[in-house]
Amino acid sequence: MIASVLFSIVLLIALGIAGAIVARAPVGRFLVYGGCLLVGLASLTTGLVAIGAPVEHLRLPLGVPWVGVQLRLDALSGFFLSILGLGTAGASLFAIGYSRHDTEPQRILPFYPLFIAGMHSVLLADDAFAFLFAWETMSLASWALTMAAHKEPGNARAGFVYLSMAVFSGLAMLLAFATMAGAGGSYAFDAMRAAHPAAGPIAAAFALALIGAGSKAGLVPLHVWLPLAHPVAPSPVSALMSGVMTKIAIYGFIRVVFDLLGGAPWWAATIVLILGGITAVLGVLHALMERDLKRLLAYSTVENIGIVFVGLGLAMAFRANGFPTGAALAFTAALFHALNHTMFKSLLFFGAGAVLHATGTRDIEKLGGLIRRMPVTSVAVLAGCFAISALPPMNGFASEWLTFQAILLRPELPQWGLKLAIPADGALLALAAALAAACFVRAFGIAFLGRPRTPAAEQAHETDIWSRAAMVLFAVLCLLTGLFPGVAIDLLAPVAHAMTGARMPVQISDPWLTTIPIASGHSSYNALLLFLFVGGSGWLAAVAVKRLGSRVLRRAPPWDCGFPDPTPMTQYTAASMGQPIKRVYGALVFRARDKVDMPAPGETRAARLTSTKSDPIWDGIYVPIGRFVGFVATHLNVLQFLTIRRYLGFVFVALIVLLAALALWQ
């Protein structure tokens, strides 16, 4: 099987080269995206098989001499391979239709397969060199894709921030591996697994891996590049970046912390729990204030990454305290949520892409009424909104429910940090779930419901058949995964067993396909029956009402308390919809202020409302760093135009200082 994945990677690279050659030809997009679609389907199948299959190794005589490239396909990489395959297949299917209006396909077609190839390679890598090479390929190819429309204002800055964060992330991963390689200096993962480092190196490796993988995944405070870079890429690429690449980052974190380090101490779990909870709430709060549809989705990715990290933190905490069944539950919940997030976030980015094509804007303030113009897209997006808001019976609810169950396990944990962090995370997750529902009521309600706010929205048209197929397929997948969560949980059992040493009870044999995470008296959830009950009673009510009451349906102008207004401008806007929440939470978190400047009676100038908010992370961390770098650069500038004598003098002094330091140190 590992050979088939390798073949896929080679094929993807070939597709990239072909894409560069035939980019301008109309056949180009069919070739590249069609090829990627097939590769995606192949990876999905291979990944699903690999989860239950024994571990496979392969050594290629490439790369560093005498070391070669070590590859490995086990349950963990198999699971993430299937996520990658699913996301790739969906995005490519969508892209076949979506790319028909691309003005500069040569900026996308070569890098798209390369990006996917990079993600495949990360999953296969079994030594630090191969891992980092693949990691950086993934970063660079996706950076090239975000710069596809580099002339639009703001995109260059987004690309710059993304590149800086990607370099930073790569550096942190490099240092993490260097710490784990230790004195022996072996960069093969097998050697790292076998080593038993002391507490100091474990702490350093954990912290570096958290920074490296966390900045790629979008963990607060390293999330700043996501909302900038994800939206500016073409929509299928946004779907891949938000839906899949963040999962590859999570894979990197799990690989290092759960596998190579073999578990982390409890304080590390506390840090992950706290960061995860904050990420979830901060991400969704940002999303609630956002008016750019794709950026809103990117912020919501930050939220979901937080939920996944909370699950991982719980797994780490339980594992550190010798409670493997609890760790398995939390770990399964985290990975299940990662899978679900790939499905619904890809779907929502497809929807955003379809809206962008149909109306030419990502600004939800300029949309409205699309449910009547784009019926298929709106139904699919509505399904995605249900799923991401964690409403039953969709898949997002199933995984959040499992995470809640993991929090409620409450084993006797001796550490005070965990005793406080776990319930606090329960509160933060509950808050994030409620805010996510508000966020997607706002996003869907403003963009798809109501009356069109601009002529562009009024003349929107339904998207093409490929895009519709991709959206409907993912919407159905979201529903099916939600109805049969037991299948996904059973599928994850080998992964959980490999990483935590235990697995959740078998679900598929439970009566009526009920999900029972711990014991039947403890908690259970049956999405299928619930769905049937709700559907059945809704249908029953409709039939009964039609039979007992009036069947007449009349259409009339809206009532609106007697003052219907024909202009769509008097509708609620996205800003007014979010205003109460902004006032409640934003005043605290974003220092959001609304200042009303009301002229005195008799004055003729217009009244003004000034609304300000600040991002505490950006202003508190990144602006000072940028200022510091600028300061240092300005002051080092004097060194740029010196004579050769001076430079030689500096080299000499530096040499002396280094030698002196060496002499003192020894």
């Binding site: 409205g368 009424g369 009547r372 509505l382 249900f386 808001s389 409403l391 039953p392 609810f397 809640f404 409450r410 005793k419 319930p423 329960g426 509160a427 509950a430 779930a433 529902a437 508000a438 009521v441 706002r442 309600g445 109501g450 009920t514 403890h522 908690s523 259970s524 959830y525 049956n526 029956l529 619930l530 009950f533 559907g535 009673s537 809704g538 009510a541 409709a542 009402v545 039609k546 009451g549 007449v552 349906l553 009349r554 259409r555 009339a556 102008p557 809206p558 009532w559 609106d560 308390c561 219907p564 207004d565 008097t570 509708q571 609620y572 919809m577 979010g578 109460p580 929440i581 409640v584």
Partner: protein
């Protein structure tokens, strides 16, 4: 097999039958306290019948979502109510969903209702949906935290199991339970749009939340929504009853006598709850919208406090 099914079926019908009566009772209590005669207890039933008989009028630009929403809201609320033990815990389908699912089902109902409010594109729909979102963003996490408190004490999130536990085990007086009760009472007022959060009797534009959302509904659609509102109130009182005042509740596998006792005690509990609610509503003024976060936020903080206590010490 037959007995749990009968209990389940009887309870679903009972919920449907009693819900408008409870609403009528609360209205009557409020009217009597205002020294008005008030409408008769059965007025909500008459209202429903009247609404069912009328033509449904829909705005010209309403989409399919607007038509589907009332039935979805009703179905979600009714199924959620079917999972709550009212007079007996031996429900056949109690294992389909636990307390978290009940909260989520009500969340689904709210989600659909808010979307329907935005569908027509009027300012009132927007004002209702936006305020509802703000209030729910505080009330829903508070409910989840209360659920956590109760679940940790009973060792289960399954509401039937929780009720059995509260009925049989010596739970005793616990600080966390007391906090949860206060928080749940606040949530009940909030979620059911009662004073001081919202006024179910008003159509005064600037103060309404729930009524603003359903402003465009009429006829049979409005009937479904009114019925869901009544069921939701009954659901919350039933939850409070079965967790905090489980006396009289028939356990699983109970005989007909015990079930009968349960079926007699349950309406009394509801009546007490309804009367208390009426008295409370009459003794407090409606709050300004932006005072609400303090009120509902208190429930959130009480829930969190209870949860922290439970994680720190098992005896609290």
């Amino acid at each position: 097999m037959i007995a749990p099914f009968l209990v389940q079926f009887a309870q679903m019908l009972l919920v449907l039958a009693l819900a408008p009566l409870l609403t009528g009772l609360v209205r009557k209590v409020k009217a009597r306290l205002q020294r008005r005669a008030g409408p008769p207890l059965v007025q909500p039933y008459r209202d429903l019948r009247r609404l069912l008989g009328k033509d449904a009028v829909m705005a010209e630009n309403a989409s399919w979502l607007f038509r589907v929403a009332p039935y979805t809201v009703f179905a979600c609320t009714w199924v959620a109510a079917a999972l709550v033990p009212t007079f007996g815990t031996g429900l056949m389908f109690s294992w389909t969903g636990d307390l978290i699912v009940i909260v989520a089902l009500l969340g689904t109902a709210r989600f659909v209702q808010s979307l329907a409010a935005l569908d027509i594109g009027t300012a009132f729909g927007g004002i209702g949906a936006s305020r509802e979102a703000m209030i729910a963003s505080l009330a829903e996490p508070a409910t989840i935290l209360i659920v956590f408190c109760v679940a940790l004490i009973a060792g289960s999130t399954q509401l039937s199991t929780v009720a059995e536990h509260m009925l049989n085990a010596q739970v005793g007086l616990r600080v966390s339970l007391a906090l949860a009760l206060v928080a749940l009472s606040i949530v009940t007022l909030t979620e059911n749009a009662r004073i001081p959060v919202d006024n179910p009797a008003t159509h005064l534009e600037l103060t309404m939340v729930h009524e603003a959302m359903v402003l465009e509904y009429s006829g049979r659609h409005l009937a479904m929504i009114e019925l869901s509102v009544s069921i939701k109130l009954l659901l919350y009182l039933s939850v409070i009853g079965c967790i905090f005042f489980p006396a009289g509740l028939a356990g699983a596998g109970a005989g007909p006598t015990v079930l009968l006792v349960g079926a007699l005690v349950y309406p009394i509990k509801l009546a007490v709850g309804g009367i208390l609610l009426g008295i409370f509503e009459m003794s407090i003024a409606k709050m300004r919208v932006f005072r609400l976060p303090n009120f509902v936020g208190a429930a959130l903080m009480l829930g969190l406090l209870g949860l922290l206590l439970l994680f720190v010490s098992r005896g609290m």
